[in-house]
Amino acid sequence: MIDRIRKYVKTFSITTAAVLFMTPFAANAQTNSTASSSGNDKWLHVRVVSSDNKGETVRVNVPLELAEKVLPAINKDRLHNGKITIDRHDVEGVDCRALLDAIKTTKDGEFVTVQSHDSDVQVAKQNGYMLVHVTEKRWNEDKNSKEAKMTEKSRVEVKVPMKVVEALFSAGKDELDVVAALRALSAHAGDTELVSVKDGNDTVRVWLDSKNSSD
């Protein structure tokens, strides 16, 4: 009888020890399976390359799902519940909503161009995307001809799916719904090059794909 009890205790001890020893591996396997489940997630990538003396490169990779969940929790300054309050002064009096409506009704590929002394702004709709090109000008005086010569100071190219833009402006009058825009971006099929900026020594690139690291 005692022998049988001893045998049960021994078997129980060995099994318990084995289970305890295997716990870290089981946890690891669980983590790996979670990793594969997030394989279809969209990632937002930002890369800033500075070619000045310091030669810095900054890479930021954020899963869209993470951004969607974190943004509503941030309540600071103009950001509340995933929405940004915009001031009329921020957009220099431009009625963004009217501009969006105008773009929606224009034909594909037709550019609305606003030219000024310091910059040119071109806005267009093409294949379901809104394209914005902004060129900042620099005027240098030419000593020989006494006429100012224009060179390109910076160039910004933005390409955003129309559905994302619509979602961005879907909140109140003076608000931008960033979370709604991120959701629309998540639903957008395929990889997208969103922003590219060339400003002097700095280049900025923002894009969307399914990889968890930038190239």
């Binding site: 305890l20 020893f21 690891n28 983590t31 310091k54 930021v60 954020v62």
Partner: protein, 145 residues
């Protein structure tokens, strides 16, 4: 003699089980090296499983102070910690300069922060599950108020 052997076996077995239990969630590592004259060098690691347990021994007023200070950041860290578990291997931020390198990444469920600034080096590694547990503990404290 036989009894002594059994006691020793029991002690070793208990220690082995205790060690596996303590290290089941990995370790928290902090390495700080200031490579200059008089610079400090700090290296320590603690079992991650010990941290939530250790929180129970933190004096209430000190923990309350931490909760009060992190009031705004707590919900954000809580969401980030929960979400990070879905991304066990990823590089979130990298900065590569001439004399500066920063990397924030997650590898095998552990958050790594590596900073190299001229002659100073800081490396921190902490399991995501530990961050989650600590934050949950603090959030519970906040709710209990």
């Amino acid at each position: 003699m036989m009894i002594l052997a059994k006691i020793a076996l029991g002690a070793v077995g208990t220690m082995a089980v205790a060690t596996v239990y303590t290290f089941r969630e990995g370790t928290i590592r902090v390495d700080v090296d200031e490579h200059r004259a008089g610079g400090s060098h700090v290296h320590f690691w603690v079992p991650a499983a010990a941290v939530p347990a250790a929180l129970h021994f933190v004096p209430d007023d000190k923990l309350q102070e931490a909760v009060d200070r992190s009031r705004d950041a707590l919900p954000i860290v809580q969401i980030v910690a929960e979400e990070l578990e879905k991304y066990p291997n990823a590089e979130f931020v990298t900065v590569d300069g001439q004399d500066e390198h920063v990397k924030v990444s997650v590898k095998n469920g552990k958050v790594y922060v590596d900073v190299l600034d001229h002659n100073d080096e800081v490396h921190v590694a902490m399991p995501v599950s530990t961050i989650k547990e600590v934050v949950e503990n603090m959030a519970d404290r906040k709710q209990a108020q």
